[in-house]
């Protein structure tokens, strides 16, 4: 009698309201997978698609719109989360829709050093043109593609690794925990950028190296969070119930524990997507990440670095910086909003 639970009436009026939430999860996962797969195919394996290349992203546009709509509806309680979602989904939508928007070729030199809101060489430059005369608007809208693809993929990889090891350390404990925590602590003791640069120097510069680098730098942190959550969760009676009916350790970790720690993990994932975006942009800026000439925010900032020293040409740097910042801000606001909502329940 020391616990006070709000009693639930036997006749339940809420039945209608919880079913859709349950049904929504697989839909969200499917939509995310669709958007992500087609983006990866388009950006990473353009040759493999052959003639389908041009149309690869078309189904992702409605998928992204539906995702946005679902998010807006179900996050009614948090304005912050909805603002964050809007920013993030704007860039994702731009990434999937860029090929079909009436934009000029982002790599075609037209009129160098054109300031924003000026018409030159028969073209109106909303955001100006860079030092080679390429349209900044077009480059900015295209430029999110690679950051988003590699950012999400790398974060997802880091999550798979971090969650797997975190569950093992937190649930199996013993020497699993000691070894895994030891390795994680070593990796965490490197400054992130040093770790990233080391990995990229060692493996060479490619998208896959970025994935590895991000996994090395993020997975230990994720592992620590998951380990802590799993430790707490393992002490709960339903885990003992699973053990006493003889469930295997993988079942307990994946089916019993993982779904119950997802709340904090989703929040952390949003934050980490933000960090990864920063990291990838920084690496590209340092010349260690993605290579020219395709438009990319990091590259744009890097290329503009010398020209932008003159105030007159600062827009070349400001425009991609604002773009990348808004994406990161979006992820962070989403994380804040989700945390706020989870605390209220």
């Amino acid at each position: 009698m020391t616990l006070s639970s709000p009693p639930v009436p036997t006749t339940h009026p809420e039945r209608a309201s919880w079913r859709p939430t349950i049904a929504r999860l697989p839909v969200v996962v499917a939509l995310l997978a669709l958007v992500w797969c087609s983006l990866v195919a388009y950006v990473v394996f353009p040759d493999a698609l052959g003639p389908a290349h041009a149309a690869a992203l078309i189904p992702s546009i409605p998928a992204a719109l539906v995702l946005y709509g679902l998010g807006i509806v179900s996050w009614r309680e948090s304005a912050i989360a909805r603002i964050g979602l809007t920013l993030v989904m704007f860039w994702i939508l731009m990434a999937v829709a860029a090929p079909y928007l009436p934009l000029v070729d982002p790599n075609r030199p037209i009129a160098p050093f054109t300031p924003p809101f000026t018409a030159k060489a028969g073209h109106f430059f909303w955001l100006g043109a860079d030092m080679r005369g390429r349209d900044m608007l077009s480059r900015t809208l295209w430029g999110g593609q690679r950051v988003i693809v590699w950012g999400i993929t790398a974060t997802a990889c880091a999550y798979v690794v971090g969650v797997a090891f975190g569950l093992m350390a937190g649930y199996l404990r013993g020497w699993w925990d000691e070894i895994l925590s030891f390795i994680a602590n070593i990796l965490l003791s490197f400054p992130v950028m040093v770790l990233l640069i080391l990995v990229l120097n060692f493996l060479g510069q490619s998208g896959f190296s970025i994935i590895l680098a991000v996994t090395f730098s993020s997975a230990p942190g994720i592992m620590r969070i998951v380990r802590g959550l799993a430790l707490v969760e393992s002490t709960r009676d339903y885990i003992q119930a699973a053990q006493t009916r003889g469930e295997s350790a993988p079942w307990i970790m994946v089916v019993e524990i993982l779904p119950n720690v997802r709340g904090p993990l989703i929040v952390d994932a949003c934050l980490r997507l933000g960090y990864t975006t920063v990291a990838i942009t920084t690496l590209t800026f340092l010349g260690l990440g993605l290579q020219p000439p395709d438009p990319d925010w990091g590259l744009m900032i890097k290329e503009a670095a010398s020209s932008a020293l003159l105030w007159k040409f600062a827009y070349m740097m400001i425009v991609p910086s604002v773009a990348v910042s808004s994406l990161i801000l979006g992820f962070n606001l989403m994380a804040d909003g989700l945390r706020e909502m989870s605390l209220r329940d």
Binding site: M1, D237, E256, P259
Partner: protein, 691 residues
């Protein structure tokens, strides 16, 4: 609004504290939740008033509202709280602080809520006096030391120098009481002050509280969910249900002449240690508490009331009606109900036939480094038998359960389940048949189910693991049958645990445990976290299923009343050892083990016709990492034999069939013990059949 006549100056002493039509609401996302509705209370100087009800009925809210400690989202939406004639609700913050510091003090369930963990006890106590009464430090410390003696804390010097975490829960609560008394308050509000403590420790604190009101003349509002405690401490009581007072009056009158169906239901649904299932079957209150946002029209108790009369009980709010000058009840049918008829719905059960031995525990010990969690346990459990393992927290009950279930391994000794040795066999190495035959019901309803899986999935999972080749339709059908078995609607299969109340979750836990048709079920305090009115129903359910299936039930509990009620045999544990074991009747009648005697004497009994022999034991259970070399109870035992008990482990003395008492006392002394619980009308019949 004010329905009370003003107190005439000449009409004897005036009340020290009065609540008039007090209403309190909480602002939540779901809107304004009325937690307390139209509450009236009159507390005279020196009087102890009990406020009793189940969790969530608004008891704490009243205490907090009186202190005006409601927090950010609490609002007093109407009424007055008069202290000594002054309305506390209109005081300025400064005046309020003075009243709180000097005139009204509150004691919470969790003593640590009132203690500063980083400050020594002495300083915390002295501060009360230096701040509020302007004493200097030295004399303040002297007064503090003197007060510690009065709350019966020995060794004041050591305690004053200690930090709160170095003291036990019982000691902390005594410190909190001492701290409150130092300010010499006129009113003491106690919110479940002993709920977090063990029974034998609780008994000491309750004794202290009773003496305080006599000695200091402090008026008390005693909040509790335990009717027995109220009977032992208070002169008047108010029974709350769903935010309303439903019955109020002098304790004796209300206990002897119940005039509200809810109060009556409560009495009928709590087991008392003087009765077993044959002599006084429990009558459960159907249904559950309404949520404060979803209360029924008219009488809030209506949907659960057997006397409910449509049209009368559900048309408009039911007012309080006087039963006598001092006794009132919120029921429309007081005059019509036959209050002396035995409550309907009692089912009597015949004795179960106990079969062969299924579980044999022999010399089982478990040590964690220096901690002796289990020491030389030997007992057996038979088919279709309910074996209770009783003891206070930390006595090693749950450790034994963990070893039996294979979540931990014994240090030495053996457990044999139908011939198979399990003491050192972890669950991961047990075969499917063994795992299937041994299942568990857990204590905490909020922990027992996986929050992210549906109820149906969780029950079906057991069937999938244990049910020999069942098809999906068979599994689904069986899940629904199991829901029927635990008396829950079938559509619960699709629900998630958070949509269930505590009692409902516990029912699912029971369905899950019995789904694989196990031979032995271990139930670790299965009802102790539930509301009183729900406990009985879950207890009955567990018993019914166990009987029907012929399952052996190992019922782990600290609650002697429930144990008396449902078990066939009892094992009493203390500090990892078995003190006494035997048939339930033998355990509850002399000869007692001195510890069993103390436990029995400590149980508060909600029955004024019962008298208890007083047994005083002091102190608390020693740390299991440093137990006495001899009898574990020797540090507290009133009979302890010097130079013997603390050195030598006592032998088990056999009295009658399977009744063993581990004690050094001579046989004659044990046999000469007087019964602890004496029922006024059944003095002779109840306690004569011991060997």
């Amino acid at each position: 609004m004010d329905t009370h006549p003003p107190q005439a100056a000449t009409a004897g002493p005036s009340p020290i504290l009065e609540c008039r039509n007090l209403s309190v609401s909480y602002e939540t996302r779901a809107g304004l939740v009325p937690a307390v509705v139209d509450f009236n209370l009159t507390l005279m100087p020196g009087e102890a008033h009990g406020l009793v009800g189940e969790s969530g009925c608004g008891k704490s809210t009243i205490a907090l509202a009186i202190m005006r400690y409601l927090g950010r989202n609490g609002r007093i939406t109407g009424g007055q709280v008069l202290f000594d004639g002054r309305d506390l609700l209109t005081l300025s913050p400064a005046e309020l602080r003075r009243v709180r510091g000097a005139d009204i003090a509150m004691i919470y369930q969790e003593p640590m809520a009132s203690l500063n963990p980083t400050m020594r006890i002495g300083r915390q106590l002295a501060e009360v006096l230096t701040v509020h009464q302007g004493l200097d430090r030295a004399s303040a410390l002297d007064r503090a030391a003197a007060m510690l003696e009065r709350v019966r804390l020995a060794d004041a010097g050591r305690i004053l120098a200690a930090y709160p975490h170095q003291l036990s829960g019982g000691q902390q609560q005594r410190i909190v009481i001492a701290m409150a008394l130092l300010a010499n308050p006129k009113v003491l509000l106690l919110d479940e002050p002993t709920t977090a403590l063990d029974v034998t420790v609780e008994a000491g604190i309750v004794d202290l509280i009773r003496d305080i009101s006599a000695e200091f003349g402090t008026a008390m509002l005693y909040v509790s969910h335990n009717l027995g405690l109220i009977l032992e401490t208070c002169q008047r009581l108010t029974v709350m249900y769903s935010g309303e007072a439903v019955e109020t009056g002098p304790v004796d009158e209300v206990f002897r002449q119940v005039r509200h169906p809810y109060t009556r239901g409560l009495f009928a649904s709590i087991p008392v240690p003087s009765a077993d299932k044959a002599s006084r079957p429990l009558v459960t209150i159907p249904g559950q508490l309404p949520s404060p946002t979803n209360r029924p029209r008219g009488c809030y108790f209506g949907p659960r009331c057997t006397f409910f009369e449509p049209g009368r009980c559900d048309d408009a709010a039911v007012p309080m009606a006087q039963v006598s000058r001092t006794h009132a009840s919120r029921c429309r049918r007081i005059a019509e109900i036959d209050w002396d008829a035995p409550p309907a719905g009692a089912v009597t059960r015949e004795e179960t036939t106990i079969g062969r031995t299924v579980l044999q525990v022999e010399g089982l010990s478990k040590r964690y480094h220096t901690v002796r969690a289990n020491e030389d346990l030997t007992f057996e459990a038979r088919e279709a038998e309910t074996l209770a393992i009783v003891g206070e927290s930390g006595c090693g009950k749950s450790t034994f359960a963990r070893i039996l279930m294979g979540l931990d391994q014994a240090t030495s000794g053996s457990i044999s389940l139908m011939g198979e040795e399990l003491a050192r066999l972890p669950v991961t190495k047990r075969d499917r048949v063994t795992i299937r035959s041994l299942q568990m019901v857990f204590q905490n309803p909020f922990d027992t189910l996986n929050p992210s899986q549906t109820v149906g999935f969780q029950i079906a999972r057991v069937l999938r693991r244990f049910g020999a080749r069942m098809s999906e339709t068979q599994i689904r059908e069986r899940v629904l049958e199991l829901l029927d078995m635990v008396k829950l609607p079938r559509d619960f299969a699709g629900r998630r645990p958070r949509q269930l109340s505590g009692g409902q979750k516990q029912r699912i836990g029971i369905a899950r445990a019995f789904a694989g048709d196990p031979a032995v079920v271990v139930a670790d305090e299965p009802v102790s976290a539930l509301d009183v009115s729900v406990q009985a129903a879950v207890t009955e359910l567990l018993m019914d299923i166990q009987r029907r299936n012929g399952t052996t039930l190992l019922f782990i509990s600290h609650d002697l009343s429930v144990v008396r009620y449902l078990s066939d045999r009892v094992v009493v544990m203390y500090l990892g050892r078995i003190m006494e074991q035997g048939r339930t009747g033998d355990i509850f009648a002399p000869p007692y083990h001195p510890y069993t005697e103390a436990l029995l004497a400590a149980v508060p009994i909600a029955d004024p016709t019962i008298t208890k022999r007083k047994v005083v034991i002091s102190g608390e259970m020693p740390s299991p990492s440093n137990p006495p070399a001899g009898c574990p109870f020797s540090t507290r035992c009133p009979y302890a034999i010097e130079d013997l008990c603390e050195r030598t482990v006592p032998p088990a003395q056999i009295f009658g069939e399977g009744h063993a008492i581990a004690c050094h006392l001579p046989r004659e002394t044990l046999l000469a013990m007087e019964p602890i619980i004496i029922a006024a009308d059944s003095l002779n019949e109840a306690h004569t059949h011991h060997a």
